[in-house]
Symmetry: C2
Subunit: 308 residues, 2 copies
């Protein structure tokens, strides 16, 4: 194999009661990455389409992740990378995780090495940490493994793939605004009342139970965030209006995707997901902020090779 092209999906992290632990892999968009072996050692990012980001290895999420991987697993080859960014940077849809996973998975595949996805996680996380300032894997995990993932413990690479009902559709609205990282990071310094911790754990327990038992009503009752939403909602215009509209249109739940500004809604069936999407569009066309909407199934496969 001389070259490879991979697609690495977008994702929803911080799924309601699963702050920093639950993620969902989306089937709708993913970064594409073309990786070529080269006889000249070293990593080079030749081209980036679709986003105005640095091609310098030390300033690029994919470059940093790839470098971490190659430090652990050296190769006599060099690599030339072309990136087609399809997941919008700063959207809250796992853009940096997508690129980080693509680079690490792609190079590993190209080298035909027998290293498991779980052992690639840490290197992708290094890239993600550069972008977000924190080593977390709640976007990395769904993008790598696909499906609905729970990061039980990152340090011991204890990551679970949860089952989920087949008929779940995700509706996304991405308001094209920038959310200040400093506002986002403040959250991690908050202290939470015991009462809220109890509610959050109760909802998380119920959600996991609902996923295992295909109980849509239970899932819906548990798609609640008691601890982060109140701080982040104010950064997103019309957040509560959008959420109310999703629920009114029959969604199982609605919340902020990652650190925002994107908002996700979960529905049973495509028809409801489409209704939610139209509801989102009606509300947001009243203000002057540009936005995108789409619906997506859960992608159960994660990152994959599309050309070799």
């Amino acid at each position: 194999m001389e070259s490879i092209k991979v697609v690495s999906p977008s994702s929803v992290a911080n799924v309601s009661c699963g702050f920093d632990i639950l993620g969902i892999c989306l089937d709708h968009t993913g970064d594409e990455m073309l990786i070529k072996k080269s006889k000249i050692p070293g990593l080079r990012i030749l081209k980036i389409n679709g986003a105005d980001i640095s091609t310098k290895i030390e300033k690029n999420v994919a470059g940093i992740a790839a470098k971490s991987y190659l430090k652990k697993y050296p190769s006599r080859f060099g690599f030339e990378i072309e990136i087609i960014k399809k997941v919008s940077v700063g959207s809250g849809l796992g853009s940096s995780a997508s690129s980080a996973v693509a680079a690490v998975y792609g190079i590993n595949y190209l080298l035909e090495r027998n290293i498991k996805k779980i052992d690639l996680i840490n290197h992708a996380v290094v890239g993600e940490a550069y972008a977000s300032g924190q080593a977390h894997a709640d976007n990395i995990a769904p993008t790598m493994f696909g499906g609905f993932t729970l990061v039980r413990d990152l340090s011991s690479l204890d990551i679970l793939k949860l089952p989920y009902p087949n008929d779940i559709y995700i509706t996304i609205i991405h308001p094209e605004i920038e959310i200040k990282t400093s506002m986002v990071r403040e959250i991690t310094n908050k202290k939470i009342s015991m009462n809220k911790v109890i509610k959050q754990t109760a909802n998380l327990g119920g959600l996991i139970s609902g996923l295992y038992s295909n109980n849509y009503e239970l899932i819906s009752r548990c798609l609640v965030d008691e601890i982060v939403e109140e701080y982040r909602a104010e950064l997103i215009p019309d957040y509560y209006l959008l959420k109310e509209s999703a629920i009114k249109n029959g969604a199982l739940g609605c919340g902020i995707s990652g650190s925002g500004p994107s908002i996700f809604s979960m529905s049973k069936g495509k028809e409801t997901a489409l209704k939610v999407k139209i509801g989102f569009e009606e509300i947001f066309s009243n203000n002057k902020i540009k936005f995108k909407t789409f619906i997506s199934k859960i992608n159960n496969e994660g990152v994959k090779v599309i050309e070799r």
Copy 2:
């Protein structure tokens, strides 16, 4: 039916990462209650064996719970109650829940009414609230329904019965000391760091997943309490020694039962549970505090009628 005798099991609440929400019904001991219809209206507690507690209706958990039930569902009969307390008062093994559930379930059964267990919960909770000062159901739920229960939301009576692997055994040590309620209540005023909340939710999610998938290793990794143990451990002599010994003897996990002083340990298989019990006894015979130990399967049935 003129009289009935019910047995109402003891339970473990605050199961590790499931503070205030997770409970386990034990097969080992339960309060017994003999309830007789009487033509003289009103409730009377004639006799209590096994504990030095008030027979006054307004000062007795069973009396208060029964009164709450009869206020909602009046009867032309009166009731005479005899209680055989087998679950030690103040042990952390759901003693008050046991009595409250016995009274409400027993009277309802005796009256041959078609009221579901879930609709009896609130009345048992009224009794429990008198004893513990808080309306919570993490002992009431397992005692009523049996098994491994999750109180998702008490106000809407959203209580789940979780599956669990068949070969789980619980080892209990009950050090006969008194834990001051004021110390226990302080916990609910604590504020928890986001980092600990994330760990607690991650462990809870993993535990529920492990219960559904019969994954003992996962259950074991998740039987961790990040937020309450550190405050309560100091109230129980040798707590960390006992816990260390349980783990060394092969237990899946170990923690404080309810508000203590009892300590529970969960094991795969009876043999390991017995080893844990012997380890507990060796440690505790070194100090002068009286104690009891026992092992128990999970009781999947909950409160039941044993004579009519």
